[in-house]
């Protein structure tokens, strides 16, 4: 790994720098959580942990958090693909404008987004009113959470799929149709497999962000225990009640579940990548 004749300069400083900052910014805060929980003088005993986690309200919150994040990421994936496709493949008026507003959810304070979404989808709001008349209640239900998380997750999906679509050689699609493939077959067999790894990354990022999202959700969710209460809110609630052990237990569980899910997605991607092109077989080039 550490190659003395590495052609790229500054391998050692770059590696050192990377490890230092990964440690300071990511690893130390996260491992503190772990060590605090596992420390002998910890407020949390194993039995206490089990008790906190098996609490029905807590379990309901976990269910809401992870299911809403998964569903929102899945919807954002479909919408994001269509948006990326439109931006890359078609010439539409004001393309640059649309391209720019995709990133707005990145920049907007999430609380602002939450308040705006809540007021629009409230039963007397701009979209909430017609929806209520149709019998759909969005704000202050789990559906509201999903909408807020789609809003937050969409740019991740668009921004990961867009460059891959740009790079995708359209002559592959032309070749496929010259061989008689239908549009659906072209999507299924050519476009989808090429975009899938990027789509999975976008999905994973949207999901990860959605699980941890707090600001935009609490305004629209209604935060009813057992129905629309998310884990991050429970953590804050426990902190406000000086229940540090409880907050730590929830945080640790979230950390572990999220890590396990992201790891799974990464492994899937690795397997996919190994299946296409980058096999270990030597490249033999002979004159034709």
């Amino acid at each position: 790994m550490v190659n003395k004749t590495n052609i790229l300069p500054a391998f050692k400083p770059a590696l050192g720098f990377t490890l230092l900052y990964l440690g300071l910014v990511v690893l130390i805060p996260l491992s503190t959580l772990l060590f605090k929980t596992l420390a002998p003088d910890s407020l949390l005993t194993w039995q206490g942990y089990i008790n906190i986690i098996s609490n029905e309200r807590v379990q309901a919150a976990f269910k809401v958090s992870f299911l809403a994040a998964l569903l929102a990421a899945a919807i954002a994936l479909v919408l994001g693909f269509v948006i990326a496709w439109t931006l890359v493949r078609y010439t539409i008026p004001a393309k640059r404008f649309f391209d720019a507003i995709i990133d707005l959810p990145f920049a907007l304070p999430t609380a602002v987004a939450g308040i705006v979404l809540a007021s629009i989808y409230a039963p007397n709001g701009l979209l909430g009113k017609p929806l209520t008349e149709l019998g759909f209640k969005v704000a202050f239900t789990p559906a509201g959470i999903v909408i807020a998380l789609i809003f937050i997750g969409l740019p991740f999906v668009v921004r990961t799929i867009e460059p891959v679509l740009q790079e995708l050689d359209t002559s592959m699609e032309e070749a496929a149709s010259s061989m008689g493939a239908s549009r659906w077959q072209i999507f299924q067999r050519i476009i989808f497999p090429n975009v899938f790894p990027a789509a999975l990354t976008g999905f994973a990022m949207a999901f990860a962000r959605g699980v941890g999202e707090y600001g935009s959700v609490i305004f629209i969710a209604g935060n009813m225990p057992y129905i629309s209460e998310i884990v991050p809110l429970l953590i804050i609630t426990k902190l406000e009640q000086y229940d540090y052990a409880g907050a730590t237990a929830l945080a640790l569980t979230m950390l572990l579940v999220s890590f396990a899910l992201l790891l799974t997605i990464n492994v899937v991607q690795m397997l996919l990548r190994r299946r296409t092109s980058e096999t270990l077989a030597p490249i033999v080039a002979v004159t034709p």
Binding site: D169, S171, M172, E174, A175, A176, S177, S178, M179, G180, A181, S182, Q185, R189, I190, P193, N194, T276, S277, E278, T279, A281, I283, V284, A285, V286, T287, P288
Partner: protein, 349 residues
């Protein structure tokens, strides 16, 4: 299958890519669409394929009007300049693609697909690469796989867009020969686009020359080389000496044995091998000074300087076999007599 193009025109914005193209390609021919880049040859190929729609005109395949038919319904095979192999599939799956996407009733079963793909791989002599991915192949191998893939659906016409454009010179040379032999065996009507006149002359049985969206000339390679219809074709195919006609030249040309015929013509094109050189014996002959020469293998290219219209020197090129040149025993600066065996007259407006 025969191809007939009637009055095809195509514009991209204000740019006129093709003007009223009429072309008939009989069954079984191997045709080259030849021209400089931007002349519309690729656009025409894509119109035949159905990848572009003409603004006006008709595309008839086998006598049927297919102008508004989708590429899927045309029975063509298309080979792209940059191969367009499916990079997420193995070579085998690439070739099997056309068979796998057939409607269920026409779709061959797995054993038949296997047999067919291996037969095609053997045809392109690359069966041993069947489980590789396109990234692991050389350019020449990729192009042959692309060809096998296009042939898998048994197209009635094979269209190739600059098939050798992205390859090394030596690989290109081998593939040209190979394509011609393949065409002889399969006898499927084939059209390929190229900007390389040598390639067109070497591979095709018929050459169609384009310039600025116009069809300039079509015919067999020798017809086009021996009888170019206009100045563009003459300059584009092979090397030529261009002399613009003026009073001063007329005398010189007559001395060199050329009878000046056409009234309207104002330029004369002379192929380098149509310029005969002898040692100057009398002053009555058309003369030039030997400036330099280069070995081109079997031929010698001779650089000659002759007095131009207003006293400035003009350069002419002549070619002759190596042996013949040695026998003349010329050295730099010698005066030589020129005789023009054959020339083409054009009215370069």
């Amino acid at each position: 299958m025969s191809i007939i193009l009637n009055n095809i025109s195509k514009k991209f914005g204000n740019f006129s890519a093709l003007n009223n193209i009429n072309l008939e390609i009989p069954e079984g021919e191997l045709v080259a669409l030849l021209g400089p880049s931007g002349c519309g040859k690729t656009t025409l190929l894509r119109i035949i394929a159905g990848l572009e729609r003409p603004d006006s005109g008709q595309v008839l395949l086998k006598g049927e009007d297919k102008t508004h038919k989708d590429i899927r319904e045309r029975g063509i095979g298309f080979v792209f300049q940059h191969y367009a192999l499916f990079r997420h599939m193995t070579v085998f799956e690439n070739i099997a693609f056309g068979l796998r996407v057939k409607p269920r009733k026409q779709r061959p079963n797995e054993t038949e697909i296997k047999k067919k793909v291996h037969a095609l791989l053997e045809l392109v002599q690359l069966d041993w690469l069947h489980d590789r991915y396109p990234d692991q192949l050389s350019g020449g191998q990729r192009q042959r796989i692309a060809l096998a893939r296009a042939l898998a659906v048994e197209p009635e016409v094979l269209l190739l867009d600059e098939p050798f454009g992205a390859l090394d010179a030596s690989v290109r040379k081998d593939l040209r020969q190979w394509l011609r032999h393949l065409h002889e065996n399969l006898n499927v009507t084939s059209i390929f686009v190229t900007h390389d006149q040598e390639e067109a002359m070497e591979v095709a049985s018929r050459v169609v020359v384009f310039n600025h969206g116009n069809l300039e000339q079509q015919g067999s390679p020798s017809e086009i080389y021996d009888n170019p219809v206009n100045e563009f074709v003459s300059r584009f195919i092979g090397d030529t000496n261009v002399i613009t006609l003026e009073k001063h030249h007329t005398d010189w040309l007559q001395l060199s044995g050329l009878v000046i015929v056409p009234e309207a013509a104002n330029s004369v094109h002379i192929r380098p091998h149509d310029l005969e050189i002898t040692k100057s014996s009398s002053d009555s002959a058309a003369t030039a000074t030997l400036k330099d020469w280069q070995h081109l293998g079997a031929l010698i290219r001779i650089e000659l300087a002759k007095q131009g219209a207003n006293g400035s020197p003009e350069t002419l090129y002549a070619e002759m076999p190596n042996e013949q040149f040695k026998r003349l025993q010329l050295s730099k600066g010698d005066k030589v007599a020129l005789r023009i065996r054959h020339a083409h007259w054009f009215d370069a407006a």
